[in-house]
């Protein structure tokens, strides 16, 4: 029996093989959304937990495990952003993700930018981060979110509009 068929049938070894094969991809994708190493690790495990519970719903005849996994990873990250929208700032612990030259003005600009991004709803924030910062193609974002490319474009425009307004309120002109 093929690996994916064994996974769909509930085979634990097949699940472990898929986990080891795809954990890095899931982690990378989630890290692009939450921009925090520890959170991305936790959410990768949560993603595979959901994958494990949903094994019977996976259609092994169609293959495409990576796409299915990415959709679950995106939903897991979105759920995290929704749960933590009010409580915590947008996590960005990875030092290599910040600019090195952090003058006072620069630090203030980065704070304004983080605060403005926090004002975006999670579904807009995901599209803005993936599309503008990570430069993911719109069709991949659409596939990961389970929406059409046109809806991605609409969310991008709405996200950018809100971001501009928030930045202008904070005295930043893009």
């Amino acid at each position: 029996m093929e690996l994916l068929e064994r996974f769909a049938a509930g085979d634990q070894e097949a699940f472990e093989t898929l986990f080891r094969q795809y954990q890095g991809q899931a982690y990378q994708w989630i890290a692009r959304i939450v921009r925090n190493r520890a959170t991305a690790e936790d959410l990768t495990i949560e993603t595979f937990w959901r994958v494990h519970r949903a094994h019977a719903r996976f259609d092994a005849s169609r293959g495409q495990f990576a796409g299915w996994l990415r959709r679950i990873a995106t939903n897991t990250a979105l759920d995290f952003l929704r749960r933590n929208r009010r409580e915590v700032p947008l996590p960005e612990d990875l030092p290599e993700l910040r600019r090195a030259d952090t003058s006072a003005v620069q630090a203030e600009l980065q704070r304004a930018l983080q605060a403005s991004l926090r004002r975006l709803s999670p579904k807009l924030r995901v599209v803005v981060l993936l599309g503008l910062v990570e430069e993911e193609p719109y069709d991949e974002i659409a596939d990961a979110l389970g929406i059409s490319v046109n809806v991605v474009k609409v969310r991008m425009f709405r996200g950018v509009r809100v971001l501009r307004k928030e930045l202008e309120k904070a005295g930043v002109r893009p």
């Binding site: 472990e16 990378q28 495990i45 937990w49 990875l94 930018l113 503008l132 950018v160 893009p174």
Partner: protein, 73 residues
């Protein structure tokens, strides 16, 4: 809102936030996954406890249901 305005925001974001890109997974997560799987298998969903409690109350209130329940088990 024009493409130019989207580009301006994109330039600002790219200037201030580096892309994560291909971030390396710092460690193998399988041991943590195994731990979660074993914890998850051991826990009983809250709804199951509600059903059990409801059945207990129903049997206490209507003892005549006991033979019917035993028959269906």
């Amino acid at each position: 809102m024009s493409e130019r305005e989207v580009d301006e925001i994109k330039k600002l974001l790219k200037r201030e936030m580096k892309p994560v890109g291909k971030a390396e997974l710092p460690r193998d997560l399988w041991p943590a996954m195994l731990e979660k799987l074993s914890r998850g298998a051991a826990s009983v969903p809250w709804w199951d406890w509600v059903l059990l409690a409801g059945t207990g109350v129903a049997l206490w209130l209507f003892p005549g249901m006991v033979p019917a329940l035993l028959y269906h088990l």
